[in-house]
Symmetry: C2
Subunit: 242 residues, 2 copies
DNA sequence: CGCTATCTTGAATCCCTTCAAGTCGCGTGG
DNA sequence: CCACGCGACTTGAAGGGATTCAAGATAGCG
């Protein structure tokens, strides 16, 4: 378990202070938020929320990666979003959880009980504003991903995914071209609407062609950024895909 | 062109008053909204917004159907959402339009200039609350659609689409089983991530099997609701797909 | 009543999946 | 520290669902 949040200097060392729901909050608003927040840890693989659960709390991701997913009756599953540090977990105004949330790596959340949070939301307009802003960003990201799922080839999907990972900084070194994949092949497949064999084949062929290289199964190097972005099929690189 | 909105009895006869952004507004708030709103018409096929345009106004759909879409450089296009009566058009907090918006049928909008609307948004919390609520609904719908695009077969996509059309009431008669498709085969294909030939084939085979029937190309009858919902692949019918 | 866009249907092809062996990397325990 | 074992990954071959290419048919308009 984590130590309690330092109340005298709240969030001073928090890595997501500038981008999470609290981004627009001033010191006084922040202290109100801190008063109802608790840090909670989840180990890789653990479920955070199940579809159908009643919402009893909301949370910001402080560190780690979680996946939002839906599994059909016959087991087909689709990851509908990655939940990264600073992202918010919780459907405001919804009674029940709509998608499973699973810790992909070890995850630390800054969690808020539902009622006090909703009450705070009414008193602190900065919170509601920021939440709306973040919801619009997510909506955009979801729609960009719909284009990927509906229209892109396996090759384009993989290229887009790798570019996204690079952009969202899973950077692991100094030169800026090495990254760690937070997901297994199967998780990538479920995110891209493919099978894990296809993911593996595409990664292998992109390695053979010299666009990327692998050192270990989860650690990759972008050797030809331009080729990567070109085969992603997006005319506008750095689009809003989360 | 439309007559000016009746200021003495604002929105009394508006068909979307209860579900649009103004749903939570009281009479006084409504009159402030009416003061900055204008009705605008678009004919079927006309563009409403282009990707990359600067946002200069927001709008509620009063009647008709529009499509939100993205077209790739080589012409592949994906419809990322249908915009139906009561839905809101406009990315709050965004400077530029992210997806093309096109009138699919004749469309009437209740349009608000950007600055006065944003100003109103700060003064009227009911507006911001409703907007957040609607954004969460759209986000959910987008994610449900991602499952369709990533994991469903052509047959399941068509069944889901028809069930959605039926649910969102494009009903055209009294017995409750006849509906009009607002979209062409090609538009349906672009919404489902298929080709129009595949859409046509699936519709034909569902007709042959007796699940649906067609009288005219756009007018269909659901003959076996249960079969339709079963082949849609959703365990929870009436899910939040818009 | 004829014309044209829209839609249907057929046949061939292809990309991705499915099924099936292997291989590799990594953590565990000896 | 190394061998072992298992889950994660790679690779191959066959199969299938959707696409592509190509004619026709039909509705709905003028």
């Amino acid at each position: 378990m984590n130590p309690p949040i330092n109340l005298s200097e709240p969030c001073a060392s928090c890595g997501v202070r500038e981008r999470a729901i609290c981004a627009r909050c001033d010191a006084s608003e922040l202290s109100q938020l801190v008063a109802i927040g608790t840090h909670v840890d989840f180990e890789a693989g653990q479920p955070i929320l199940w579809r159908g659960d009643e919402f009893t709390s909301f949370a910001s991701v402080v560190s780690g990666v979680a996946a939002l997913s839906r599994t059909m009756d016959d087991g087909r599953t689709q990851v509908v979003g990655l939940v990264l540090p600073s992202d918010f977990i919780g459907g405001l105004g919804r009674e029940y959880v709509d998608f499973d949330v699973t810790a992909v790596t070890n995850v630390t959340l800054c969690q808020f009980k539902k009622e006090p949070f909703e009450e705070l939301l009414e008193r602190v307009p900065h919170l509601a504003q920021r939440l709306l802003e973040m919801a619009m960003d997510e909506l955009n990201a979801a729609r960009e991903w719909m284009v990927l799922l509906g229209r892109k080839t396996a090759r384009e999907k993989i290229a887009t995914f790798l570019a996204m990972i690079a952009r969202r900084s899973f950077q692991s070194d100094t030169d800026g071209h090495e990254f760690d994949l937070p997901l297994t092949r199967e998780e990538i497949a479920d995110f891209l609407g493919l099978t894990y064999e296809t993911v593996s084949r595409q990664l292998s062929s992109m390695k053979k062609e010299g666009t990327i290289d692998f050192t270990g199964r989860r650690h990759f190097i972008i050797k030809d950024q331009e080729a990567l972005e070109h085969t992603s099929g997006d005319s506008t690189p750095n689009s809003s895909i989360i």
